[in-house]
Symmetry: C2
DNA sequence: TTGTTTCATTGCAATATTACGATGAATGAC
DNA sequence: GTCATTCATCGTAATATTGCAATGAAACAA
């Protein structure tokens, strides 16, 4: 079906899954890494950084923006993107709250 | 096309994207949370915990296993699943190494 | 005005994912 | 041996994702 039964899960489960989905593509990881590296707004050269067509990059940027990982603001004729630092910290905590709930040195599975 | 250009990105970018993809579904988040909660091997009752058919749950378990997040070992007539604790810590670090590369209190984007 | 640049959006084709019924393989009970 | 239980796999239908060419929309230069 290709249709996720989102209504059958909690909001928190769906939220974390959506955040993971936003990061579930190497191009989007590459975009995030580039934005982090330059540590500033990036206007325009993202298409040059990636081995993808302009339309495809724009689509990935829209998904990252929809997930709240990045912000974009118009600057004259170009658009500048950067990490949404406030949300970034929140998202980091969302992932950590799952990772840290498990597997201390004493956990004895299987 | 639906075909990701994996060859155009680094192994590390593809690896992290694949880990994120494994977590990019609320059912798989729910499975991980349940395995964490009981902190032990779970044999059989996973299907009862989820609002999905047995075949669907099995498919999700296979993806989590392929990504290395969980382990499964046969125990008589049933199969037991649990978090792969060693890999879990490694995966945690992979995510943190991205999250912690950005956005200290002084970062001044946009 | 016309042209240029920059990015978003549309439309499409190829592939991937999700879900489930049906079936299969393996184990244990009897 | 038969039968039930448990889980994996196959096949299939519905939907989602990925990628790109083509086209728009907005800002600026001349």
């Amino acid at each position: 079906m290709g249709l996720t039964k989102t209504e059958a899960f909690t909001d928190q489960q769906n939220d974390l899954a959506n955040l993971a989905k936003a990061m579930a593509h190497p191009a989007r990881i590459a975009i995030l890494e580039h934005l982090i590296k330059v540590n500033a707004c990036v206007c325009g050269d993202l298409v040059d950084e990636l081995p993808l067509a302009q339309a495809t990059v724009s689509q990935h940027l829209r998904e990252l923006k929809a997930a709240g990982l990045i912000k974009g603001n118009i600057e004259g004729t170009s658009v500048c993107y950067c990490i949404d630092t406030d949300r970034w910290r929140t998202i980091r905590e969302r992932f950590l709250s799952l990772f840290d709930r498990c597997c201390g040195p004493d956990s004895s599975c299987c």
